[in-house]
């Protein structure tokens, strides 16, 4: 059913991605592919994987941006997967009902057996979070690892998305963003978490945390002020103060 749930549960599972921590190692990308290629749906195929012009479907991608700030240019690694939007346009445009948003936790999924591969959902997503599988010709997207997070066959600590589990720096956090008391909501509040392209009206569930101002820049700033202060005539009292002013008078 491609209508958005009329009475969604307050639960909104999603990710919080910390742009301050991500080092752009692509480990989450690889583990996402690894887990999801062996999961319930069709494998995530690759075309010409070892040759020129390779392509394939991936559910998570890392872009790297350069942000030119007032002081300098800063590199920001930027992981991007489905944001499990509250007002997901990809769901309502789907003609078959293959694309749907779960009532119980807000996860946006594709029923691959019903997908006709029209691609319209990907056209409607502002974030490029959906990719057509080149072999299966069905739409692929992040499942929020729905087959891990509720999977009782996995040890407790593994019941989080593969990307979250694998991130060596802990840049991805998973939780219920519909619950204001949850750890992830707390992080968003404390760090000023934000939405991507709010003007597109999708109300994403996933949030991003901004990079902090770089410590070495703040440090070098402080250092610069110090040196500057040293170079200026110091206000010393006593004997040396008298020498100083006397010399100054001599010209």
């Amino acid at each position: 059913m491609t209508m958005l749930p009329e009475n969604p549960s307050p639960k909104k599972l999603g990710l919080v991605i910390d742009l301050d921590i991500c080092v752009g190692c692509h480990a989450c990308v690889v583990n996402c592919k690894e887990w999801n290629t062996g999961s319930e749906g069709a494998p995530l195929s690759d075309i010409n994987a070892y040759g020129a012009e390779q392509s394939g479907s991936w559910l998570n991608r890392i872009h790297t941006f350069e942000v030119t700030t007032e002081k300098t240019a800063q590199v920001v690694h930027f992981p991007k997967s489905c944001l499990h939007c509250t007002d997901a346009p990809c769901v309502t445009v789907c003609p078959t009902g293959a694309s749907y948003k779960r009532v119980e936790d807000g996860i946006v999924l594709v029923n691959e057996d019903h997908c006709i591969g029209c691609g319209l959902c990907a056209w409607s997503c502002p974030y490029g979070a959906r990719e057509m599988d080149p072999v299966e010709q069905v739409m692929k997207k992040c499942t929020l690892c729905v087959d891990r997070i509720y999977n009782e066959n996995l040890p407790e600590e593994d019941r989080v998305p593969a990307c979250v589990r694998t991130c060596p720096t802990g840049a991805r956090a998973f939780g219920d963003l519909g619950d204001p008391e949850s750890e992830v909501s707390e992080m968003v509040r404390e760090r000023g978490g934000f939405d991507l392209m709010p003007e597109q009206g999708t109300a994403p569930v996933n949030k991003y945390l901004p990079p902090r101002e770089k410590q070495h820049l703040i440090a070098s700033d402080a250092q610069a002020t110090e040196t500057q202060a040293k170079n200026q005539a110091p206000d010393v009292a006593g004997f040396w103060g008298w020498v100083d002013s006397a010399l100054a008078k001599l010209g």
Partner: protein, 300 residues
């Protein structure tokens, strides 16, 4: 957006066929013998169904296409499918009753005209409802599709009438419709040239508060499906020349042919017009920019 042939043929050919059904429903078609009725409606339905078949070529799984009729409550693509099926059904009924009774039913005809234009409207809304593509996301988009469809249908009827009676008919009406469709399209082009998504690399990444955002490294070394599908770029110069060609073929030559009164020229109008519409449709897709390209270093 990548101008896929399957979609260009789908929108332009079904648009032409539905336009023919629109005028057919209004009883504008002269029939000298009963078989003409089957020929005209057959031609129109071939165009409509041919267009729909072409759209199936665009699908990864055409064998599941029937499922696309299920989500009419929210999806314009689904609505398009449902209305197309209904329109084809009504057209068959209308033609059959006319054929057997020798008398056309004006009310079923009205219904046919209405449904054929609703179908065209739905086709346009598949694109016109996408907020991610600023060039399309405008209330005028469906009007462009509808006016061009009505126009295409009318020039087909004019050629048909020429064949039936050997003399030009509906010259004033056709001139008016051609000019009107041209004006709507030109207004759309002007507006589209100024349209902006309101999104930027800064809003896409949410990093605008820090400073200017530029792509340093793409996530992958080769083009991925998203870029292939949505990152299509045509040179501006190219686009302008093509839109001029589209105007000449779709509107100017048909007008000249119509007023020349030369029989073979009038018979050629629908074909020339149709090529013009195909170019117009190619541009409709090729010139459209998707906001996802902002993540790949584009700045709209």
């Amino acid at each position: 957006m990548r101008p896929a042939w399957s979609i260009i043929v789908f929108t332009s050919l079904s648009g032409l066929g539905l336009g023919m059904l629109f005028w057919f429903g209004l009883g504008f078609v002269t029939l000298t013998q009963p078989i003409d009725l089957l020929i005209f409606s057959g031609l129109a339905l071939t165009a409509v169904i041919g267009g729909l078949c072409s759209s199936l070529l665009h699908l990864g799984h055409p064998e599941r296409a029937f499922r696309a009729l299920s989500q009419w409550r929210s999806s314009w693509l689904s609505r398009e499918g449902v209305f197309a099926v209904v329109t084809v059904g009504v057209a068959c009924l209308y033609a059959m009753i006319w054929f057997t009774d020798g008398q056309r039913s004006a009310s079923i005809g009205m219904l046919l005209s209405a449904f054929s234009m609703i179908t065209v409207w739905a086709t346009a809304m598949i694109y016109g409802s996408l907020k991610t593509i600023a060039r399309w996301y405008h209330p005028l988009t469906p009007w462009v599709y509808v006016s061009l469809s009505i126009c295409g249908g009318l020039v087909a009827v004019v050629a048909w009438e020429q064949m039936m009676s050997g003399s030009p008919v509906l010259v004033e009406l056709t001139t008016g419709v051609l000019v009107l469709a041209f004006v709507v399209k030109v207004i759309w082009w002007r507006r589209a040239g100024q349209s902006g998504s309101g999104s930027t690399p800064e809003s896409a990444t949410g990093l605008g508060a820090m400073g200017q955002v530029d792509l340093l490294m793409s996530p992958h070394t080769e083009e991925n499906w998203l870029q292939h599908e949505m990152g299509f770029v045509v040179a501006r110069k190219h686009a302008q020349r093509l839109s001029q060609i589209a105007v000449v073929l779709a509107f100017l030559l048909p007008l000249l042919a119509l007023w020349s009164g030369v029989s073979w020229a009038i018979l050629a109008i629908p074909f020339v017009h149709f090529v013009g519409i195909m170019i117009e449709r190619w541009l409709f897709f090729a010139e459209a920019k998707h906001v996802v390209t902002l993540f790949y270093g584009d700045r709209h």
